[in-house]
């Protein structure tokens, strides 16, 4: 017969034989707490991190084009270079957005998120390096057009250095920036700003601060143009 145990949520067993059990509990909880610390720390943004020249902290650390324009729609794009839906959006709306930039009909901010992992961080860092060389849009277009499958090992610092040559970047600074991951702190800041902004999927696009309609405007150029022109 069992000793009476009250189902009051108290300790199920008292007594001398619980040493092993308590030790196991202590070890499991302890190890988890120790592992939690670096996770919390690495998740913090760093306001002193180096940022590319075209970036402004007040625009959520985005890479901004036509920053000086007023009275035009402000398009903010949150995307991950590895996300297939972002590549689809880029294929649908990318050249229209580039036209808006070159004809000065919109202010556009790109926020390269990196939630899909290591290769997204490398890509985001390299995109900032390319931005400093005035090649962000070329980099952006080329990378999405040649998107490999997620974290397959295809995107390395070496890959981005070579890509720079392909884009006609001859500066040694770009290589140094890619290899040294100079903007990795900024990449984390972009991620943190995105999370504060409640960006919960990629791509997420705001026009004048309002998210475009998820049911239509991401999948059709016509609907997206309408969303921009109505703004």
């Amino acid at each position: 017969m069992a000793q009476a145990k009250k189902p009051n949520g108290g300790k199920p067993n008292g007594g001398k034989d619980n040493f092993t059990r308590n030790l196991v509990i202590a070890v499991v909880v302890g190890v988890a707490l120790i592992m939690l610390v670096p996770t919390v720390l690495s998740n913090r943004g760093d306001s002193s991190a180096a940022i590319p020249a075209s970036v402004s902290a007040e625009d959520g650390y985005g890479i901004v084009f036509n920053k000086e324009l007023t009275g035009v729609p402000f398009i903010e794009i949150y995307e991950d270079f590895q996300c297939p839906a972002c590549a689809r959006f880029e294929a649908i709306a990318g050249s229209y957005i580039e036209d808006l930039i070159s004809t000065k009909k919109a202010k556009v901010a790109f926020h390269p998120l990196s939630f899909l992992g290591g290769e997204s961080q490398l890509a985001a860092n390299a995109s900032a390096c390319a931005a400093d060389q005035g090649k962000f849009l070329d980099f952006h277009r080329t990378l999405f057009a040649n998107q490999p499958s997620e974290n397959s090992g295809a995107w390395s610092s070496q890959y981005f250095a070579t890509l720079g040559i392909g884009l006609g970047i001859s500066s040694g600074e770009y290589d140094k920036c890619v290899q040294g991951q100079d903007y990795i702190g900024w990449v984390k800041n972009v991620a943190e700003e995105g999370s504060k902004r409640n960006v919960n999927s990629t791509p997420t696009v705001f026009v004048n601060g309002k998210e475009i309609d998820r049911n239509t405007a991401y999948g059709s150029l016509g609907d997206f143009m309408l969303a921009v022109e109505k703004a």
Binding site: M1, A2, Q3, A4, K5, P7, G9, G10, K11, P12, N13, G15, D17, N18, T20, R21, V24, I25, V28, V29, A32, L33, M35, L36, T39, V40, S42, N43, L113, S114, F115, L116, G117, A191, S195, K196, N198, V199, N200, S201, R214, N215
Partner: protein
């Protein structure tokens, strides 16, 4: 000994391994992916953003701990209560997302965030979690199970009455 008394420690073991295994796997798949996990919690639109981000960061570790303790059978009753409570909260969160017409993935095993309308699986997610709550309740009522590191695992709970 009734048939149930003989079976109960084995049923308990199955509940422990299932609930523990699910919690451990759910946590383990999210532990190194804080940003995705935070995004999944935010997309329920239930908590203030900083709170959701904190939960997204810590919840995977909590799930791993509870899962491991259930698998080895340490402090079974307390841990089963915690695990069952967690699952109960998940059911509420998923149900409110469904009722409010949000289009999200539960993010239970990684992933999460917004999905296309029509891609949601709320009913399956709720039924699964309800099954896990039932297991947690069984373990809370009968915490003595086979192969547990709690003391005297062979004790029967037959002395208890409701």
């Amino acid at each position: 000994m009734s048939k149930f008394e003989k079976l109960q420690p084995w049923i308990g073991l199955a509940c422990r391994l299932t609930l523990g295994g699910v919690l451990f796997a759910a946590g383990y798949l999210k532990v190194g992916k804080a940003e995705i996990s935070q995004m999944a919690v935010r997309s329920y639109e239930l908590l203030p953003i900083p709170v959701a981000n904190f939960l997204g960061l810590t919840l995977p570790f909590f799930e791993v701990v509870i899962g491991l303790l259930l698998i080895v059978g340490a402090a079974t009753r307390v841990v089963a209560v915690l695990g069952g409570f967690t699952m109960f909260i998940f059911i509420i969160a998923i149900a409110q997302a469904w009722a409010r017409g949000l289009n999200i993935d539960c993010g239970c095993f990684g992933g999460g965030g917004a999905v296309d309308p029509g891609q949601t699986r709320y009913l399956q997610e709720i039924l699964r979690d309800a099954g896990l709550v039932a297991m947690a309740l069984f373990l809370t009522r009968y915490p003595a199970t086979k192969f547990s590191i709690d003391r005297a695992p062979r004790q029967s709970n037959a002395g208890e009455t409701e």
